[in-house]
Amino acid sequence: MKNIVLSGVVATLLLFSGCGSPKPAEDTKTTEKPAETAQEVKAVETETVASENTTVDASSESSSSNSNLSMAEVESQLSPVYFGFDQFSIDSDMQATIEKASELGKNAAADFNVKLEGNCDEWGSDEYNFALGLKRADAVKKAIVAQGIDASRISMVSFGESNPVCSDKTQECWAKNRRVDFKLLP
């Protein structure tokens, strides 16, 4: 009698232990697949629509407006190069900005020319200050030419202190105005 009861309990236990399932592992597996599929489909649809179903005039407008947007978009990725007080040499911490600008110049902005705009802080509006702004633009030009950008794509202008981004009388604002901006040209 005892033996039968004991065997029954053991059998029941074995039965229940066999029903246990590894739920977390199965859940992770099932969620991964749908996400991958959705991304691929979206990208293909957008490209197809842009190249079909447009007339000549509209397509030239749409393609030019697309390229204008692209130029503006690329330009917005070009950060200014900042300079020290009364300096026109490029600091080591600006090297990354130069490299990024050069990369963009060889890839996303390869079809555009660039105008380098040199600027100064508010200490003086005479010719010397304008020349200092120009030397800053020239330093950036030399740096991006050294990174492989064709010099014939680059023009320069100096605005002296006449193009400030801020007008507070603080060292932070003065530092922001001592800069060279990148402007793309078609």
Binding site: W123, G124, E127, L134, N163, Q171
Partner: protein, 416 residues
């Protein structure tokens, strides 16, 4: 031997001209002058405006102690007002308007009860009344035997920054009481009178693809393009005969000085240094002074136009970045503090090319863009101090400075 040396020393002192010593003498003995208004036209506000302009001019000529009470009288009264009986001079004037709205002014200068000077003026628009006041002060100055103040009658042209990449070009009188905006809503800088008569001017336009030098005739308002250059382009000076310009151009990003022949439309490079050479000014017909960074910092140099020899002119200071010359004198802008983290001071200094004479002309703020008057009597400059932009005048022989503040904007550059 000792007697000879003393004699030579005394002889030398007799001929040394030191404007500072003369001024100390003069302050004690300036004659007094009162102004009596005998005007018979115009409202009280206009009469007061004219009176204030005249008082300001009499102060600027710096040869009188000027009484500041606005007193009224009749033009033909035989005696001066009782309040003015102890004045050395009384200036009595009468403004009146005729049927064609022409402003007439008659004036008499009275000394010891006698009229010693009588003059009359007229202008066809009353809004240029200040030029009458300038002419009156100029004539009184001449009558008193003082060196000419011709500059007082000349027009000033300046550019005023009103926003990022936006400026106005303004023609005014020296005191800024009259202002006429001749170009606006554009980015134009560095205006420069094209001739002695002030009937046209050059300026740099930054609105085009490249900086472009333009010429505007103020009578016809016609604009023509002169020359363009990548980088920067400024007309720094114009020769006496208006046929040659001194330009700063930056072909290939290299700022250098060029002479430009207006008739032949050709240019010639004058400096070859690889750094900064700017701000050239004629010193006589064949010589220029300019600013160069060839010593590692901006300083003042000179050069003969037909030679390559450069001479350093200033041996003081570590940053002298603007200059103007007249005869043997040079005025330059010197930076006196070099602080990246606070406001800096730039002052104007005057030196002689023939002696060791040196004098600081200003004391506080940012003082820049000095310009000698044609007669060398005064220096015009820009002052920015405590958020106020002003045009300043230094009367060299009287050791006095006067400031004329702008109501808005910041002066970028100017000429007179």
């Amino acid at each position: 031997m000792k007697l000879l040396i003393s004699l030579l020393f005394t002889f030398g002192l007799l001929f040394a001209s030191d404007a500072t010593i003369e001024v100390i003498k003069k302050v004690d003995t300036l004659p007094t002058i009162a102004v009596e208004d005998a005007s018979i036209s115009y409202n009280d506000m206009f009469k007061l405006k004219f009176y204030k302009a005249l008082i300001a001019d009499l102060n600027v000529i710096s040869i009188f102690n000027v009484d500041r009470y606005h007193r009224k009288t009749h033009f033909n009264d035989t005696t001066v007002l009782v309040e003015n009986k102890d004045m050395n001079y009384v200036l009595r004037y009468k403004m009146y308007e005729d049927d064609s709205s022409t402003l007439h002014v008659e004036m008499k200068l009275i000394q010891d009860g006698e009229t010693v000077l009588f003059k009359s003026y007229r202008v066809n628009r009353k809004n240029i009344y200040m030029f009458v006041a300038h002419a009156m002060a100029y004539d009184i100055n001449g009558f008193m035997g003082e060196p000419s103040v011709e500059w007082m009658k000349r027009k000033v042209i300046f550019s005023r920054i009103v926003g990022a990449k936006k400026s106005e070009i303004v023609i005014s009188d020296y005191s800024l009481s009259y202002q006429h905006v001749i170009l606006k809503n554009r980015f134009n800088i560095f205006p420069k009178w094209a001739n002695k008569e002030q009937t046209a001017f050059y300026y740099t336009s930054l609105d085009s693809a490249k900086p472009t030098l333009k010429y505007l005739d103020t009578k016809t308002l016609k604009i023509s393009n002169i020359i363009s250059s990548d980088g920067m382009l400024v007309c720094s000076d114009v020769s006496e005969d208006a046929k040659t310009l001194l330009l700063t151009m930056a072909k290939d990003g290299q700022p250098d000085i060029y002479t430009y022949n207006v008739e032949k439309k050709t240019y010639k490079r004058e400096t070859v240094y690889g750094g900064i050479d700017v701000n050239a000014q004629f010193m006589g017909k064949n010589k220029i002074i300019f600013i160069s960074s060839r010593l590692g910092y901006p300083n003042v140099f000179s050069k003969e136009l037909n030679s390559n020899e450069i001479e350093q002119l200033v041996y003081y200071g570590k940053s002298n970045s603007a200059c103007s010359s007249n005869g043997e004198y040079i005025v330059y802008k010197a930076r006196e503090t070099s602080n990246a983290f606070a406001k800096n001071t730039f002052n104007l200094h005057l030196i002689s090319m023939k002696t060791d004479f040196i004098r600081r002309l200003t004391a506080t703020g940012i003082n820049e863009f000095p310009r000698f008057s044609k007669d060398g009597d005064a220096i015009l400059f820009i002052k920015n101090y405590k958020n106020q932009s002003s045009i300043g005048i230094i009367r060299l022989n009287h050791n006095k400075n006067y400031l004329f503040p702008l109501k808005y904007g910041k002066v970028q550059s100017m000429d007179w």
